[in-house]
Symmetry: C2
């Protein structure tokens, strides 16, 4: 595989795993229902993304930093909605 | 921050964002209820993780490969359960 193809796959991967949380956040805002979402999962995922953000900043990696900053916002919003709607 | 501290944060980040899906999968297996989980989110996330796995293999990165292989199993299981329970 050429390096361009590999980097294109990485870019698609980053887009998908970053933006995928938007439909979940909008679904909760629409339905106000979070009973099916696991609180331990949401706490661990949001904490993990926060660690990735610190890691990206410490390493000076713009891609790790930006991707995780965006994910932290949506994941944090989903966690806040889970805590609110239970 | 020393490189050891930075890498320790990266390791904790990888553990959290990899293993966090287990409680969600077990919750669904217990409750057989997935109405609150967004199907577009689960499809996009699982596809994104599959792309990260291909990226890790193509780059020859063991950490990217292993983390995403584990996540693909739990995320794929959550997607399959979502498709089953609706």
């Amino acid at each position: 595989m050429s390096l361009q193809v590999v980097e294109a796959i990485g870019f698609v991967a980053a887009l998908l795993t970053t933006l995928c949380w938007l439909p979940q956040a909008f679904k909760i805002l629409r339905e106000r229902q979070t009973a099916g979402i696991s609180l331990p999962t949401q706490i661990a995922f949001t904490s993990g993304v926060a660690c990735w953000l610190v890691y990206g900043i410490a390493l000076g990696s713009p891609s790790v930093t930006i991707a995780n900053a965006v994910t932290l916002m949506t994941s944090g919003a989903i966690l806040a909605l889970k805590l609110r709607y239970g």
